[in-house]
């Protein structure tokens, strides 16, 4: 395993841990939220959920290896990109 692979695995682990933290802190069903803030909360949950899934797919592929994970690992990049795109949209929605 090369140094770059180890760095990417550590990065995926950090992203997974932080994404799960952020996901847990979202509360889209909270009472008293305006529709825009509620939408922002849902977008936050979706974005960090996608980031967590992408990081978990990469970690699974890196740890277990094998042909089965190669196809799934290809989804890690697009999932992380989609997560960041939704985070950007969420910021815009929140700022109004």
């Amino acid at each position: 395993m090369s140094l770059m692979q180890i760095l990417i695995i550590v990065a995926a682990l950090v992203v997974l841990a932080e994404a799960l933290n952020k996901v847990e802190r979202t509360n889209p069903r909270c009472r008293g939220l305006s529709p825009r803030m509620r939408l922002a909360e849902w977008l936050k949950a979706a974005a960090w959920g996608l980031l967590a899934t992408g990081a978990a797919l990469y970690l699974g592929g890196a740890m277990l290896g094998g042909a089965v994970w190669v196809g799934l690992r290809e989804w890690a990049g697009p999932l992380v990109l989609m997560g960041f795109a939704i985070l950007v949209v969420r910021t815009r929605v929140k700022e109004g």
Binding site: A17, N21, V23, E24, A45, T53, G60, L64, L72
Partner: protein, 138 residues
């Protein structure tokens, strides 16, 4: 009149056929009997449980608390995926559900894995009446 076991047998055949169609996970040449798509569905279910049910709440804002909560969340997501991977085919057989609902079932099992496992453990080993929480801290 059809035999009562016909549908269950057909479901079992369908599920076992599907298991053959999708490659199983192997580690060091040892087949684990897990399908990656079912694991991913279980992971997504665990995420939804964390968002909507707050299944793994934080217990503080300091660094050690955050680190412990992060490890716990990763462990819960991992365990929920494993539970979905191993229990969903069994649950589908018991509920006599078609194979097309395998991933949906895996999502549901992943979301409820904590409650399912706790229920099974409580049924197998009922909590002792004299202990505070029965040793199972939630």
């Amino acid at each position: 009149m059809p035999e009562p076991t016909t549908t269950t047998a057909a479901a079992a055949a369908t599920i076992s056929g599907a298991a053959l169609a999708v490659p199983m996970l192997t580690v060091a040449g040892v087949p684990l009997g897990l399908r990656p798509d079912v694991l991913v569905a279980g992971f997504a279910g665990a995420l939804v449980a964390i968002v909507l049910l707050h299944s793994v709440p934080a217990d503080g804002d300091t660094w050690p608390h955050m680190l412990r909560a992060s490890v716990r969340r990763i462990a819960v997501a991992f365990a929920s995926s494993l539970t979905a991977g191993y229990l969903t085919p069994l649950a589908l057989l018991m509920a006599d559900v078609p194979e097309s609902l395998l991933l949906g079932g895996a999502f549901a099992v992943g979301a409820g894995a904590q409650a399912i496992l706790r229920g099974v453990i409580d049924r197998l080993r009922p909590r002792m009446p004299h202990s505070d929480d029965g040793g199972a801290r939630s």
